[in-house]
Structures are given as C-alpha cells and as structure tokens.
C-alpha cells in the first residue's frame, strides 16, 4: 500500500470558510501536479456554519487511487499529518457542532505531526493555551493576524498562500514548492501571491512540543445514550430555571444566574471577550438585555457579570454600553481561564482596575467579516506589508 496524507484545517465558521476551502483545494491540486490523487471536503456536520464557531475542512491525498480509497473508507480522518489552525484563539480547544465536548486543537495529530498556526504570538504563549498531547508534535507559526472575511467577499491578504508555502516546507512529500507555485499561477495568476508563498516557505520554522508542555486540563466530553435510554418522540428536556447567586465576599444572596446548556457550552466560538470595568458601570442593564445568548449573570449587588463559560464573543455588549471604556472586547489570546471578572473585582478592586487598564490599553480592530464596501482594500495593503516583514 502507498502513502496516505491527511491535512485538516481548523477554522472559524463563516469568517474563514472561504480561506479553509481555498487551502484544502490548493493542497489537493498541488499534490495532483505530482500525480497524487486527492479529495477535499468540509466537515458536513459543521454546517450550517455560524459566525466564529470552530469548523473543519480536510484534504486527503494519496500516492495512488487504491490508497486514497483506503483512506476515504474512514471518511472523517482519525489522524492527520498536519493541522492548520487559521486563528490562534483556536489553540484553546474547539467545540464544534460536529464534535461533542471540547476537542484539543492538536487532537488528531500523528506522532511527529505539525500544527501550523497563524499568529503574532510566540510559541510559548500558544503552547500554554493548547492541551497536552500524549506524544510530541511540531509547532510552526505563520506570522500573521488571523484573517477573517465575509461569507461572500474574500479578503485576499495572502494568508492562504503563506500557509501553503509553510506546508510545502514542513511536509515536502505532500507537494513541493514548485507544484504549489504552479497551482498559484493557474488558480490566482498572481505573482505577488507566488512571492508570498516562497517567502513563507523560506522563513517557516518549527519547535517541538513535548507531552509535558501545554494546558494540563482534561477537556470536557460526553457519552452518548443508547437508543432505549433516550426519551421517545424526539423530545428534549428544557434547561431548568436558574437561581440566585451567592456573593463569596459577603455571603449575600441575590441576583440571578440562569442555568445554561450543560452539553454545549459554546465559549470556544469566541475570538475576543468583554472586559468589564465594574467601577464605571451605571447599571443601565443594556448589556444584560441585549446579549443574544443571555451570558450575563446578575450579581447580588446588581452588577452584570459576563459568564466566560457561555460568552461567544459577539461584541454586542460593547456596542450597546453607553459608558466609555466600561466594556471593551479584547483578543481571547490575552486570557488563560474562564474565571469570573466580577469575583476578581470584588476580591481586589484596585488590582482589578490595573488589570483592566492593561488589558484594554491596546485596541486593534476586533470586528469580523465584511461591513462596508472597500473595507478589505483598506486593510489588505497593511497586512501584506506586515507579511513581507514578518
């Protein structure tokens, strides 16, 4: 039997759907230049995509048709040579529609496989976020701001070809740089893109990640019931009523924390989280009212605490808050846990104020998708310049 190659692309639904598709297609086409047959597909169970929800595309390539058929007998691969994560916040783990529970971003990697991440972070910061793996693997970082597009309009900032260039370097048996250049010429007819791919190929480096490195937490998971253990009539029990909250500092009971779905938490959908400066809050209730997922818990003192176990980072709270710098959306890679901000503030108000100031000091553009005509023309030149210097 010949050699089978599997590459998965873990991406943020809708915003990176086209990017993921471009990547998986280009992989198959580049390998095909060298006579290797392949199949490209998005994970069907992830559709319909919602903004930001982690999703996957796959490219399965083989040295010959028979080996490809062997590989495709297991339609969704159980192990891959390379995982490409096109947003670094995905390193915290992914909870998709097609996979119940929290799946580590590196879960499918074969021993010695490579995780390619687009990020401006250093390896140590990414490794800290990723769950520990039972065997060593390689980490490669393509220095880039994670690329988000609209569903119908693609932001062509060369992230696609830079990742492909890096892939040609880390897995040369899959396809060579020359094959990649040929595909770029045929698909995009863009010399600049070819140059970006070459640059990424030359600059990419890997570090080894050991089983002792990474987040030691066990990701949550669920067992499926047997057919006779399930209620009949396709009826699902509702989430029970919520309850009041206890203030750990005073013992006071009050407020309201709704019960939430215990088997689908959704927080890995977020790429940014709201940082709340409670000292500025005027309790207008708008964040709590407008949150589409009812993520705000009402605390005994009447403050609103966004539950980091539930928040999926849409940013509506920041948009509706009337007080300047009271709620600020901050890149999710800046945080290492889902701890309650209100509790941290109650425990040490001055420390918390310093923490907030530090977190919101730098505020890069944190919106996603396509909001106005000409948006990408404004953003792309800067991103291409950054990529050239990366």
């Amino acid at each position: 039997m010949g050699r089978l190659y599997a590459v998965e692309i873990v991406y943020r639904g809708i915003f990176q759907k086209t990017l993921a598709k471009n990547l998986s297609r280009a992989i198959v086409l580049a390998a095909h230049r060298e006579g290797k047959p392949g199949i490209s597909f998005g994970r069907y169970g992830d559709s319909p995509e919602r903004n930001g929800i982690p999703a996957k595309s796959f490219a399965i390539v083989a040295t010959d048709d028979v080996t490809l058929e062997e590989g495709m007998a297991q339609y969704e691969p159980k192990e891959v040579d390379v995982t490409i994560a096109v947003d670094d916040t995905l390193c915290k783990g992914v909870e998709s529609w097609a996979w119940y529970g929290l799946q580590p971003v590196n879960r499918l990697l074969k021993p010695g496989g490579t995780l390619i991440v687009t990020s401006h972070q250093e390896p140590a910061a990414l490794i800290e976020m990723m769950h520990r793996k039972e065997h060593p693997y390689q980490l490669a970082i393509v220095k880039a701001t994670p690329s988000f597009s609209g569903l119908w309009v693609y932001k062509d900032d060369h992230t696609d070809v830079r990742i492909l260039g890096a892939l040609a370097k880390v897995l040369p048996d899959l396809f060579s740089l020359i094959s990649l250049q040929e595909v770029i010429a045929e698909e995009w007819k863009d010399q600049l893109k070819a140059a970006s791919a070459l640059r990424a190929y030359e600059r990419i480096s890997t570090v080894e990640v050991l089983p002792t490195q990474g987040n030691p937490e066990t990701p949550y998971r669920f067992d499926f019931p047997k057919w006779h253990e399930m209620r009949e009539g396709i009826a699902i029990p509702s989430i029970p009523r919520g309850a009041a909250v206890v203030d750990a500092q005073t013992g006071e009971t009050g407020g309201y924390r709704p019960e939430r779905n215990p088997t689908f938490k959704k927080f890995t959908t977020r790429t940014m989280r709201p940082v709340v400066d409670f000292a500025k809050c005027i309790k207008c209730t708008l964040c709590w009212l407008q949150c589409p997922d009812s993520c705000f818990d009402v605390m005994p003192d009447g403050m609103y605490d966004a539950s980091m176990e539930a928040c999926c980072g849409c940013g509506v709270c920041e948009a509706v808050c009337p007080e300047k710098d009271c709620i600020t959306m901050v890149n999710e890679t800046d945080f290492r846990d889902n701890a309650s901000q209100w509790e941290a503030w109650r425990k040490d108000p001055e420390g918390y104020a310093r923490w907030v100031a530090e977190k919101i000091a730098v505020r890069p553009e944190r919106s996603h998708g396509f909001r106005f005509r000409g948006q990408y023309e404004q953003q792309v030149p800067g991103e291409l310049a950054a990529a050239r210097d990366a």
């Binding site: 297609r25 047959p37 597909f41 069907y44 048709d65 062997e70 297991q74 057919w227």
Partner: protein, 411 residues
Amino acid sequence: MAQTVASTETRQQVPREETALITGSEAIAVACKLADVDVITAYPIRPYDTVMQYVAKLVANGEMDCEYIVAESEHSQFEIVKHASAVGARVFCGSSGVGWMYAFEALTVTPALRIPMIAMVGNRALDDPGAFGVEHNDALAVRDLGWQLVWVDNAQEALDTALIAYRVAEDRRIFLPCAISCDGAFLTHSQALVRIPSQDKVKAFLPPYQRADLLLHPDNPITVAPQANEDWLMEIRRQNGAAMERSPGVIREAYADFERIFGRRYGNPFFEEYETDDADVVLVGMGTLSNPVRVAIRQMRAEGRKVGFVRLRWFRPFPAEDLARTLSRFAAVGVVDRDFSWGAPYLGGVLATEVRTALYPAARHPTVVGFIAGLGGREVTVPDVRRMVESIEAAAQGKAQPATQWIGLRE
C-alpha cells in the same frame, strides 16, 4: 474513483480532457451545462443546494444559457419544470429529504404524464429529526410512480450518469423521468478529480429533446392530463408500465454508446460487481458505502475469506432476473439498506425486501440477511462491514441469523 491526468504522450495526440476538482453536485451541474439544459428550477435545501449554486454560478458567468428560476417551494419548483418539459424544454431539477417530499404531488404526476425530467436527489434523512446526513428514503419514496432511479458512488459517475440519464429519459420509447441519487455529504460535498468531456462528444452522444406528438404547442392541438374514470385508467397505467419495461434495453444501448464515444466503460449498467467471481458470500448496497465495503473486502480477502460486493446502480427499473442470476451463485447475501421501512416484511429495509422478491423465483435461494446501516449520515465503517460479513459467513455455514440487523447502533 479519481483518475490521474492523461500522460504527455496522449496529450500530443488528442485534445486533453479537462480535469477539475469538483463535488458530485458540481459534476451534475457541469453535465447540465454540457447537455445544454434549457430550464432549471431551484429551491434551496441542503445537500442538494450545492447543485443549484453551481448552476447559478455557471449562468451568472455566462458559461451556461438557461432559464434559471428560483421557485417559492419545491412543489412549484417541480411543477415549473414539468410544464417547461411539456412544451419542449430540456429540464433539470433537484431536491433532498423533506424538500423532495414537499414536491410529492408534482413528483407523482411527472412520470404519469411521460415527462423526461432529470432530477438530482441529494439523499438526505427525512425529518423528523432534521438531520442533513444521507439516507435513501427520499428518492426511494417515488419507487412505485414511474421514476427511473439510479444511485452513483463518485463524482465521475455522477457526471457520466447525468448525460446517460438525459439520453435514456428523453428516448421517445421511454419518456419517463430519472432521479440521480447522490449521497448527501459524501458525494454532494466532497471534491474529487473529475474528467470533463468535450462538448462535441456530448453532442455526438446526446440528441436534442424532441417531444414530437406530445409537444404542447398551438400547431399540435392536444390537451393533456384530463379527468379520467374507470374506463380509461388501467389502460393508461399499462402504457406507463410498458415504457418502464422498455427502459432496460434503452439503458443498455445508452451505456454501450457512452463507452464508444467517451471511452469510459461501466460494464453491466445495472450493477457493479467487486470480487464476486469466486465469492462464497456477498454484500449488496447502493451509493458511497461502496468505499468502506471495498476496503473491508480487500482486507478480508487478504485473510483468505471469499467475499464480494454487488453495488446496485439502477433501482428502477429493478434488474430482477439479472440480479437473481448473479446472487443465486452465493451461499449467503447481505443487503445493506441505508434506509428504513417500518413494518415491512421481516422488518427489512427497502432494498432487502426487493432483493428477496427478486430471488423468490430463482432455482437457488441464498440466505438473505438484511442490514440497516449508515442512517442520517452516520459513517458505515470498515469494522461495520466486517461485522456484516461475519454474519453472512455464519449464515452460509447454516447458523441462523436475524432477518434484519441494525449495524453501528448504540444499544
């Protein structure tokens, strides 16, 4: 399965066939373009909607000239193309799951009126629950009504079969619609390397659609679909039955011509045999489950076990005699149903019930074991296939097996 690009030598001698990385849905859209379809109606439902999107792209890009109409429901979608066909337009339509069911009144009258519509069914589980994954019940629901039904298992076959379907359906001896079933997700949504035939080859293979004496046109003063009573109905039904009886012959002609013109050989059009020559036991099934089945069979053959696979393509017209002749060679037959049929004989799926019926008049009766597997898009895995083969091997040795078994179920 995927073919590699033609060698340099061939390239110099003949115009190179284009190879594209496309899904089964897109392959069918490409076939519509090559067949110069005149009217296409659309209504979105996953997983069929990929074909309507690809057609829309072709039309918007100016690569295809056809009337593209997004209807307000599947019922209207199928009604519109039915009427377009009645006035002489070559038509294409499609749906999935309960979308297909929504069109049921239209689906019923289409074959009755001898309308050669080609439809793509992106096989999808029927609601409820609302799963998008593959199940064959949607297409199978029309099996009594006069639709020709064919299942394909890869994108190349989808493209080729779409061209063949136009040729067969629009043959005046037939004039019955044909639904091409593509497994949701596994075929509709995965991109494979497909050879796109040239336009002149398609022109040589596919004559224009001639509705002739049945054409609705002022110069041909007829009326169709009148009210009828018991004096007329049986004879009308018998005519449609006769058309379906003629279908196998026309299908054989079409495949032979296809091979001659396109150079791709499908052998027996009705079913494909894999490792059956010396098999003791075989599995029978339709669609993309053929992939894990073939892989499992190769593994078991390496273990010295003589097992084969018959992949049925044409479910209607059902090749009963041919299939019975083949299957009665084996000691035991396992029928894999990617569908259900509550209350059917022996709790079997649709295919198992049909296979048992086909075998009934045969001189030799293999034991037939029915399997229900892969519903709602659940993968049929290599271990699943091995389990099924173990069961039919046991049956071949005289050990009683349940008539119907559920595979891959949490129980």
